[in-house]
């Protein structure tokens, strides 16, 4: 008997404390999970240390000033400099606003089509085409826009100018319609349509089916159902998707650089062939920039980074707030 009782193993200690291997695992995964925080922090940190002295020298005029001039004396030292990204900030907002005001209605309509009209194989094919289009590189949109799309966009610009030219922003100082912010905005619109369509479609898909059917059962037509159920339900998410498109359009470099005639002036006349955005400025000036100007470009990059971060944060907030309610 005594021998037997000695063979009974000690009871296992019951604990909620994870084992050593799990502690290591959790530690590593948590560290990896922090990567996005660390990277975003590092981006802000390094761009600030390079760009900070520019910002402190130029002060607030870095945002408002619209000249980019560096004067050097014979030793190659900087004698005087006026650096400001005002014109480019205006251009960034202008082209991005054109992009969303043209792109978002089209995207929402096609999302409505995909969710409530298309069926079966057609729907599947259309959805994968649009997803594919979202993956096209901006290089492709840029050169397609320049070589193919520009001709017809120029024709529309002339029409707008002819019939709506009395509006100040459709007026032009000289009849140059090529490479205008308007055309760049349209190319950006084409770029963001697939993204906004995808998000809106996902939001519309989440509309609770019982409410849709309730509306139909009350005798609603499709239009009445969409107005009474889908739009109130999906409004916030669609606005979020539009903001995401805005962020994408604001940060776009290559497509704007190829399509737009990057000129350093504030241009509110969207049909006139001069403009720019912050990202295309960085690309344009980078090749010829001295160390001082490179730092200024870093500061411009920092401002662009902060702007897109804010827009994206708002977008994410809206999509998550309104998007996942019905799931």
């Amino acid at each position: 008997m005594e021998n037997q009782s000695a063979a009974i193993p000690a009871p296992r200690e019951i604990t909620t404390k994870p084992r050593r291997s799990d502690q290591v695992f959790r530690g590593i995964v948590t560290l990896g999970g922090m990567a996005s925080l660390v990277i975003l922090g590092l981006i802000a940190f390094f761009l600030s240390i390079k760009g900070f002295h520019i910002l402190s020298e130029e002060k607030f005029s870095f945002i408002t000033e619209s000249r980019w001039e560096v004067l050097t004396d014979e030793n190659g030292d900087i004698a005087d400099s006026t650096l400001g990204i005002g014109a480019m900030l205006v251009g960034t907002f202008l082209s991005a606003l054109i992009a969303i005001s043209v792109g978002v209605p089209i995207a929402v309509l096609s999302a409505l089509y995909l969710t409530f009209y298309a069926r079966g194989a057609v729907k599947k094919i259309l959805i994968s085409l649009i997803d594919l289009m979202a993956a096209f590189p901006s290089l492709l949109y840029g050169f397609w826009g320049f070589f193919v799309f520009m001709a017809s966009a120029e024709y529309w610009a002339k029409l707008l100018n002819k019939y709506l030219g009395f509006l100040p922003f459709f007026d032009v100082p000289a009849p140059i319609f090529e490479r205008s912010p308007f055309i760049a905005g349209l190319v950006l619109a084409i770029m963001i349509i697939p993204i906004v369509t995808s998000i809106s479609r996902e939001i519309f898909d989440q509309t609770p089916l019982d409410r849709i059917q309730a509306a139909y059962a009350l005798g609603a037509s499709k239009l009445a159902m969409i107005r009474a159920v889908v739009i109130p339900y999906g409004r916030g998410g669609v606005v979020g998707g539009a903001m995401l498109g805005l962020g994408r359009a604001m940060g776009e470099t290559v497509a704007v650089y190829t399509v737009l005639n990057v000129v350093y002036q504030i241009n509110w006349q969207v049909l006139f062939g001069a403009g720019g955005n912050v990202a295309s400025l960085i690309l344009l000036k980078f090749g010829e920039a001295g160390p001082y100007e490179v730092d200024a470009l870093m500061a411009a990059g920092l401002i662009l980074f902060i702007l897109t971060l804010i827009v994206n944060a708002l977008a994410d907030l809206l999509i998550n707030r309104f998007g996942s309610k019905g799931k």
């Binding site: 994870p18 291997s21 799990d22 695992f25 995964v29 948590t30 990896g32 999970g33 990567a35 996005s36 925080l37 990277i39 590092l42 981006i43 390094f46 390079k50 089209i106 995207a107 929402v108 096609s110 409505l112 298309a118 259309l126 085409l129 649009i130 997803d131 594919l132 289009m133 993956a135 096209f136 590189p137 901006s138 290089l139 492709l140 050169f143 193919v148 799309f149 349509i193 697939p194 037509s221 499709k222 239009l223 009445a224 962020g247 994408r248 940060g251 470099t253 190829t258 990202a279 690309l283 980078f286 470009l297 870093m298 662009l304 980074f305 897109t308 971060l309 944060a313 977008a315 994410d316």
Partner: protein, 349 residues
Amino acid sequence: MTTQVIPKPSKPWEVTVKQRAATGSLIALAVVLAGVSVKFSGLNGKLGFAVSFFFIATGLIFIQQLRLRDLQAAKDALLSSFAMLGIVLTLIPIVSIVSTVVIKGYKGIHPSLLFKDMALNSVNDPITEGGLLHALVGTSIMVFGALIISFPIGVLTALYLTEIRGKLARPIKFLVQAMSGVPSIVAGLFILSSLVYPVTKELSGLMGSFALSILMIPTIARTAEEMLRLIPSDLREAGVALGATQWRTVSGVVLPAAKSGLVTAIILGVARIIGETAPLLLVSGGGDALNMNPTSGAMGSLPYYIWKSFLTGGTEEAFARAWGGMLVLLAFIFILFGLARFLSGRKVG
């Protein structure tokens, strides 16, 4: 004996042949009227025809519905016309882009391109001279490098969001989303300011990989997270119930079950960065010669090959070369997308 009358099943809501014929003839009428209006007004060409066709067809259908039914039905028809317009406007660019690239690009494709680089050639040389070997090798090396950096980080982030679900899960998800909106040029500037100027003082392929990985991490993290969420929690619970630790459950059950999903994440990540141009223009140095060493020297890439051919050439050969490069790039994207779709069988993007 009473015979039971079995009512014939009918579907009164279905579109009858007569209705279809009516709609068809309306559309035909709209085509004719649009043709007439283009002929006798200032409207111009295909576009003018399309615009007037759309408005005439929409108007005709509106009137038909108003006459046959009521205002509600007519408005409903209006919405469906506009929804159709939306999808057509969305699809025109993709059709135009793909057909342009194929039509203009095939002239810029030649088998010898695969074996030569551009070290001794200008972009204006005939297509049979010079090639894109350096670009293909450079892009492969940089994308592979970016993948090695991004895949572990992306998957760990996804695991944190799906398996650990710590207190920080929400903020991290938010940050990943925010990171996916970082403009590509900012990624290039970041690598310049953090690595190139203070440390290496030299542009190279490795720097390109770093810049690309900033753009790749969010795509991989989000796709991997979505894929891991598809793994039923029964599997995780079964693992834990058998006495496995969380580490054993994740490594032995969850990750193997999500294998094809993780491959999809890799593919979509690669598709996201393969055409990225702006950061490479800043940090990879843009070489024309074959360079297999990512740590030193300028490294060519497919986007740079296209960029340079478009902007520095100006001759027909240079444009053919550029569109040819674009065709190769587009082919890669199609293949990657097809693979992703084949593997996951579900929505990608």
